[in-house]
Symmetry: C2
Subunit: 378 residues, 2 copies
């Protein structure tokens, strides 16, 4: 007998209510029945994005919405600052390059957050820059960049703020409207507790003005066309109906808990995970830890690749290893979405188990004890 | 009490086995467990596409794969013949225009199939054309274009054949390899009996050579990058995991029935529908009917918009109306995917019911009787 437990930083576990909603008989999308569900999901997205504006739903993974941000708002020859502090920061620069947008890269040591002064310096040195692109939460390193401060800098300098909020929206506080974020992107398989396949994107009035002048080619990800359709409760192309049926349900669950409480839960689970890892002598990789995912350094002498592999194949516990240059050097435990205190105890227990098996020297139980203290004691 | 019955030409009904497969706990995609499912689905796609080549799976609706076909194989300034015999033929031309590809349009009367001689004439008059783009089945009109003959013409003239097989692959016989089709596109929500959200695309060696020279920007729909990943049982970006779990199951069902039998079933259901409509005095819209969907002219004096609306809201039976300039003029009944003889009797019965209600003069029961004769008598 083996049970499976999912702690990957996307996809995250899907609540049974959401699975049931998605298993309902499929609806034709050109009907008032679908429009009703779609409009409810769209209203709910505004709540989670903390915005009064339209949040556009796309049938794609998050990368599709990242591409849409670049191809709808910028033009070939434009310069854009890309904050590259991990695999997803690099992705912003790659997308820009694909469209002839010239990335002005700020390379941040992986594991560290970008310094706002550094971005200010680069913007001053490059007054022709149109936008700054970053991750609110860089999933590959478990780092949280200072989104509110960066947004404020962008407003001051008159450049667009384009934010990958894929592992941030619904995870921790991101005030789209209040902070004046121009473009915010997210995806279904993180805090939204859905399978992958939906992406979300929200534009400010300033960003919509930029759309009017954008010269990049686009068709499937044509946001203006989508907005015109979605305002009428429809989509330009066939929507991912079952995922949208699930989205309405998952947003209902988020509303029921309350966004503030969701943030508090994520913060508590993240803290318990970090403290537990430290209690067994491990070092955290991120100097500015995101509440989405905790990145932990593999201790010296241990084969880092084996940690997620043994956990998965022998224990049924799925965490993520490191990506790209972090392969074998870190492991990552997610605590976003449909995750409880008990799940976190389980995850810490599993990490203790595999480290014991791999011969790491520590006091077994110390991690779980510390997690318990944080989870129940505070 | 109201039961729902779906006869829209996408999405089509999802079998319970497939719904259950999709309701399984979600998997992390960077695992051997996912790769096993993904590879099995990919092998199955080759069977349904009748190809030995890789069929790439994208997280998007079919239009995304149509865009990928253009943006990966063609370049700005290239000329491409677009066969415009309906809404989806127009879409090919629109996508080309978005990317600076110059469409040479062949406008076909909606409801009719393109004449191969006409395409030959246009190719002779435009020797610089790189590709011909068409629909194997034009969903908006219920028309089947002569794909085998067009492919043969393309080979003869040395131009690429780019085929929208969204309502053709798995519906009726399309021999991707044997007919020498260069690009074939399909989607999940038709014969594949899945919710919308996956698109499929298959390229010939000649098309892959064209990819090397393509100058259109692309990132999310970068097929070369996808192929490199998918050959290793992975995807470039997060795949729509639950839909892929469903895809493996739906292909299992198709294999169990056998592709030839699936085609025969679709052909029989389509014939029964056509004959039933004629038996109650209605006229078919398509002069070259597709086995995917039967398009029927709204009889004079009847408000065409009311037919699908009453069927849906009062009877729980979902069929499609006409799109674009056919709005109110035709209605469309799908018979692709998870549809049985009994379902077809039900659809015909429902059409009789609504037409009676709307005051159309006909012999009630004549349609269902004729359908029965075809379904059981032959």
């Amino acid at each position: 007998m083996k049970k499976s437990y999912l702690f990957s930083p996307g996809p995250t576990p899907v609540p049974p209510e959401v699975s049931l909603a998605m298993a309902q008989p499929i609806l034709h999308h050109r009907t008032s029945q679908f429009t009703e569900i779609f409009n409810e999901a769209r209203e709910g997205l505004k709540y989670v994005f903390q915005t009064e504006r339209d949040v556009i739903i796309l049938a794609s993974s998050g990368t599709g919405a990242m591409e849409a941000a670049v191809s709808n708002v910028l033009s070939p020859g434009d310069k854009a600052v890309c904050i590259r502090g991990g695999k997803f920061g690099e992705r912003w620069a790659e997308i820009c390059e694909s469209y002839g947008v010239i990335p002005v890269n700020i390379d941040v040591e992986w594991g560290e957050a970008v310094k706002v002064e550094e971005v200010a310096r680069v913007l001053e040195a490059n007054p022709e820059v149109k936008a700054v692109l970053w991750q609110a939460s860089e999933t590959s390193t478990g780092v949280k960049h200072p989104t509110e401060e960066l947004a404020s800098l962008c407003r001051e300098k008159g450049v667009l703020s384009i934010v990958d909020g894929i592992t941030a929206i619904g995870v921790f506080d991101v005030k789209t409207d209040q902070w004046g974020l121009d473009v915010v992107v997210s995806g279904s398989q993180k805090a939204f507790m859905l399978p992958p396949g939906l992406a979300f994107i929200c534009l400010s009035e300033k960003a919509w003005e930029a759309v009017e002048n954008s010269k990049c080619p686009k068709y499937y990800f044509d946001l203006k066309k989508e907005l015109n359709n979605q305002k009428k409760g429809q989509t330009a192309y066939t929507p991912a109906v079952s995922l949208i049926m699930g989205l309405r349900e998952s947003i209902r669950l988020i509303k029921e808990e309350g966004l503030e409480n969701v943030f508090k839960r994520h913060a508590l689970l993240a803290k318990a995970t970090r403290e537990a890892m430290k209690a067994i002598g491990l070092e955290l990789f991120s100097k500015s830890p995101s509440e989405a995912v905790t990145a932990v350094k593999v201790p010296p002498g241990i084969d880092g690749g084996k940690i997620p592999k043994i956990l998965r194949d022998k224990y049924g516990v799925v965490i993520a290893g490191g990506q790209a240059k972090l392969k074998g050097k870190i492991f990552r435990i997610s605590h976003m979405g449909y995750v409880t205190k008990f799940d976190m105890v389980l995850a810490v227990s599993a990490v203790e188990g595999v480290l014991k098996e791999l011969g790491y020297d520590f006091e077994v139980g110390a991690g779980v004890k510390r997690a318990q203290e944080i989870l129940w004691g505070e």
